[in-house]
Symmetry: C2
Subunit: 441 residues, 2 copies
C-alpha cells in the first residue's frame, strides 16, 4: 500500500508517492533549468528545495548540494545509485502525510509556493547531456521477426544472438525530449534490392517506423580498461526512460551491411522526460522471457545470480492520426514478455573490453515485442514489412507512418494499491520532409 | 617557400611556420589545460598570449577571447573555420622574421618567457571533449581487402560501397590522446566460425590489430533536421588528426553481423594530440584515388564541384617491438592513394537525414591502404588475416600485435621548401590483458 501524501495526489496518478522520478524543468517565470521531481499534478523544484535546507536530514547530501543546481542530471547521477536512492526516499518522507519533518515543506507554505508548480505549467527538457548512447537488441521476438523479414526465416536469429547482448553505438546528438517534433528524413534507398544492378535514388524516407524501447541511464561506473561485473551492474543503473528509436527502414536496409545501422537511425531518438529511478522499479522485478534453447550455457561474465532480471512494466504505443486526429492503440505489451537480455548483462558485456561508462550514458533495450500482433513494438513487424496494413480508429489504415502522425509511448508499473509508477509519455509528431535538401535535390 | 621565423625553427621541423596546429597542453608548473600551438621545438601558450592582447590586431577575436581560456578546443572550433583560420594567420604573422607586430612577442622577452616552453616539457591532452564519433570506411583498398578476408572475394565490396560513404557510430568515451597505453581487451570469440554449432569462449583478444586512419574534427554546422550540402562542408571542417582504430579482430568477427562493429572496436581509439587546421592542408590538395567503375553516377547530394578532394599527405606506421625494442616501418602510404570518399562527402551524407553535428564531433576516414603490401594500413591486410607473418627488424615476425608492442602513426605534408606540416605521433603501447576480468573469469 502506497503511503498517502499531504498533497492532493489522485489514486490513479502515474506520479504517486511510490514513483518520484527525476527530470529537468524550467518553472514559470524563469529560464533556469532545474532538477525536478513529479508528484501527483505537481512539479517539485528540487534545486530551490535543496538550497532551502530541504535535504538537511540526508547525511549523504552534505557537501553535494551543488549537484541539485545543475541544468542536467549528470552530476546527480555521478554521485551514484545509493545517493540518488537516499534522496528519493527522503522526498517520499517529506511528502507523505505523516512526514517526520513537517516543518520542511508540509507546514512551510512559503517554500511550497516557491517549489511546487502545476505540471502543466513547467517545461521539461532532456534530462542528461548524453555522450554515449548504445542501442541493444535485447528483445528476442523483435530480433527474430525483423531478421526473418530482412534475411528470411532461416537466417532470422543469427547464431551470436543467443550468446551475447548485441548492440550498435547510436548517435547522441539527435536524442530529443518528448514533445519535440521529428522531421521525416531524406535518404539514399534502392527500390528493388533484388535487382543485379542496384540503382539508388535520393528521396524522403517512404517507410518511417517507430520502435518501442526502454532506455537505461547509467551513473558511470568503470575507468578505462576496467569492467563492470554483471552482478555489480545494478549499482551503476540510475534509472529508466521510454525510448522511441525512429527508423527509416528503406535507408537502413540499403546501408546496414556490413557496418550496421547509421543514417537509418541517426536523425532522431525520442525519450521521455522523467527518469524513473531504478529503486522505484525494484518491487516490480520479475523473471523475463524464457531464453531460447541454447546448448552452450551463457559464458560466466554474463551469468546473473538472480533470474528476476526483467520488470512487470506495462507498455503501450498510441498513434494519433495526422489526418483524422483519432487515437489508436497500436501496441500493448509488457517488458517482461519481450526482453531476453537484462540491462546488467548489457552493461557487463559493453564494458568487458574495458570500454568506460560515463554518468549520463544511455543504453537502449532494443525493440520490445510480445508474441501477438497487437503486442509487436514496431510497424515493420506489425505490417510484415509494409505488406499487411493495420486498421486504425476512424476508418484508416497504416503500413508506415504518415506525415502529421504522432507516436506516443507509455509505460507504467503498479496499481492503485501500490501506487502507480508512470514514465510520462515519449511522444513526437512526424513532420513532412523538407521540400528539398540543402543540396538542392 | 615558407617564411622564416625569428624563433629558431629547423628547416626539417614538422612544426614549421606553415603548420601552426592547435592542441591542449599543460605547461611546467601549472595543472591548467590551455589552448596551445607548436612552432619548431616550442609549445606556445595561446591562452596567456590572448589574455596579454596578443590578438589585438585580429578583428574576429574581439569579444571571443574566452574561447582561448577553455580546457578544450570545443569553444574555439564552434567559432568556425574562418575564425580559426584568421587566428592561425595572425600567429604566423607574429612569429615570422619580419613580423609587422614585433612588440607583441618578438621584442617582448617577458611574454616570451611566459608563453613559450620546450615541447618536451609540456604535457599534451585530448584536444576536444568529443561527443559524436563516426568512423567511416572511405579507404576502398581496405574495404575490398577486409571484405575479401571476411566474406570471400565475390562479396568483398558490397554493392552499396560505391554509392555512399558508409560508416558506423563509434564510441567517444574510449578515445585517448597519443601516449596513453592501451590494454588488450577480453572478449567473446568463436574459434571455428564454420562449425555448425558455434561455441563461444571468453578470452583475451588473440588477434589485436591497428588501423591507420585520418580523423576530422568539425566545427558543428547544422541544426537538427537540417543538413550540410557537400559543397559547403569545407566550411565546417576544423582540422585533422591521425587516428588508430585499435581492433580486436576475433571479437569483431563473431559480433559484427547484423549490427556492425561494437566490442571489437570500443575499448580504444588513439588520436594524435595536435589538430592540423584544414587551412594548413589546403596547399596539398590533390585528386584522390580513382573511384571504381560505377555505372550509376553519384547521387547529386554527394557530387563535389572539385575533384581535388584528397591530400598529398605521407602516412607511416611504425612498430616498436615489445620484445626487442627494434623499430620497424610496417606501412608507408599516402592519403591520396587510399581514400575514395572525401570528408565533405562524409559530412554531407552523415547530415543528409538531419543528424546534427556539434563542435568537436570527430569523423574517422576508415583505414587507408595503398595497393602494395608495404602500404597496407592494418595487420589484417598485411598478414592476410594472420596467415602470412610479416618480418620485423631484429629477426622477429608478427601476425598480430603482441603485448608490449608500441604502434606509432605518423603523417606529414610538404618539404623543406614549403615547410613541413607534421601531425605529431598517434602512439600507444599495448599492455597485456588483465589477468582476469572483474567477473572473476
Amino acid at each position: 500500500m502506497a503511503p498517502a501524501s499531504w498533497l492532493d495526489v489522485a489514486t490513479d496518478s502515474r506520479f504517486s508517492l511510490a514513483n518520484i522520478p527525476f527530470g529537468i524543468a524550467t518553472f514559470p517565470g524563469s529560464s533556469k533549468r532545474v532538477v525536478t521531481t513529479a508528484i501527483g499534478e505537481y512539479a517539485f523544484n528540487l534545486s530551490v528545495f535543496a538550497s532551502n535546507n530541504g535535504f538537511v536530514h540526508v547525511a549523504e547530501t552534505q557537501g553535494q548540494l551543488e549537484a541539485f543546481n545543475e541544468p542536467t542530471l549528470n552530476a546527480l547521477a555521478s554521485l551514484g545509485r545509493r545517493f540518488c536512492g537516499a534522496v528519493r526516499r527522503s522526498i517520499q518522507d517529506i511528502l507523505k502525510f505523516d512526514t517526520p519533518h513537517p516543518d520542511l515543506l508540509k507546514n512551510n507554505h512559503d517554500l511550497q509556493r516557491r517549489c511546487l508548480s502545476p505540471l502543466a505549467e513547467v517545461q521539461l527538457h532532456l534530462p542528461f547531456e548524453i555522450s554515449g548512447f548504445s542501442d541493444f537488441y535485447g528483445g528476442m521476438n523483435h530480433a527474430y521477426n525483423a531478421g526473418a523479414l530482412f534475411r528470411g526465416q532461416n537466417g532470422a536469429l543469427l547464431p551470436n544472438y543467443v550468446h551475447l547482448p548485441m548492440a550498435y553505438h547510436g548517435r547522441s546528438s539527435s536524442i530529443f525530449v518528448s514533445g519535440t517534433p521529428v522531421r521525416r528524413p531524406w535518404g539514399q534507398i534502392v527500390e528493388d534490392l533484388r535487382a543485379t544492378e542496384k540503382k539508388p535514388i535520393f528521396v524522403p524516407c517512404r517507410t518511417m517506423d517507430f520502435e518501442l524501447e526502454l532506455g537505461c541511464f547509467v551513473c558511470g561506473g568503470n575507468a578505462p580498461f576496467d569492467s563492470i561485473p554483471v552482478d555489480a551492474a545494478e549499482e551503476y543503473i540510475f534509472g529508466y526512460v521510454l525510448l522511441n528509436d525512429w527508423s527509416a527502414r528503406d535507408v537502413q536496409r540499403w546501408e546496414y551491411v556490413p557496418l550496421g545501422p547509421f543514417n537509418g537511425k541517426n536523425f532522431a531518438t525520442t525519450i521521455s522526460a522523467w527518469v524513473v529511478l531504478a529503486d522505484a522499479l525494484e518491487p516490480f522485478r520479475k523473471p523475463g522471457m524464457q531464453r531460447p534453447p541454447n546448448s552452450t550455457p551463457l559464458l560466466p561474465y554474463l551469468q546473473e545470480r538472480r533470474d528476476d532480471f526483467s520488470f512487470d512494466l506495462n507498455l503501450e504505443v498510441e498513434l494519433v492520426s495526422g489526418a483524422t486526429k483519432h487515437k489508436s492503440t497500436l501496441c500493448s505489451t509488457n517488458a517482461a514478455d519481450g526482453l531476453v537480455w537484462s540491462f546488467p548483462q548489457m552493461l557487463a558485456h559493453h564494458t568487458v573490453t574495458g570500454c568506460p561508462m560515463k554518468a549520463g550514458d544511455l543504453l537502449g533495450s532494443g525493440t520490445i515485442s510480445g508474441l501477438t500482433t497487437s503486442s509487436l513494438g514496431c510497424l515493420l513487424e506489425q505490417t510484415l514489412n509494409g505488406t499487411q496494413p493495420i486498421q486504425l480508429e476512424g476508418q484508416e489504415q497504416r503500413t508506415w507512418l504518415e506525415d502529421g502522425d504522432e507516436v506516443i509511448l507509455k509505460a507504467w508499473a503498479g496499481d492503485k494499491s501500490t501506487g502507480y509508477i508512470g514514465f510520462g509519455d515519449a511522444a513526437g509528431v512526424l513532420l513532412p520532409a523538407h521540400k528539398q535538401t540543402a543540396s538542392g535535390t
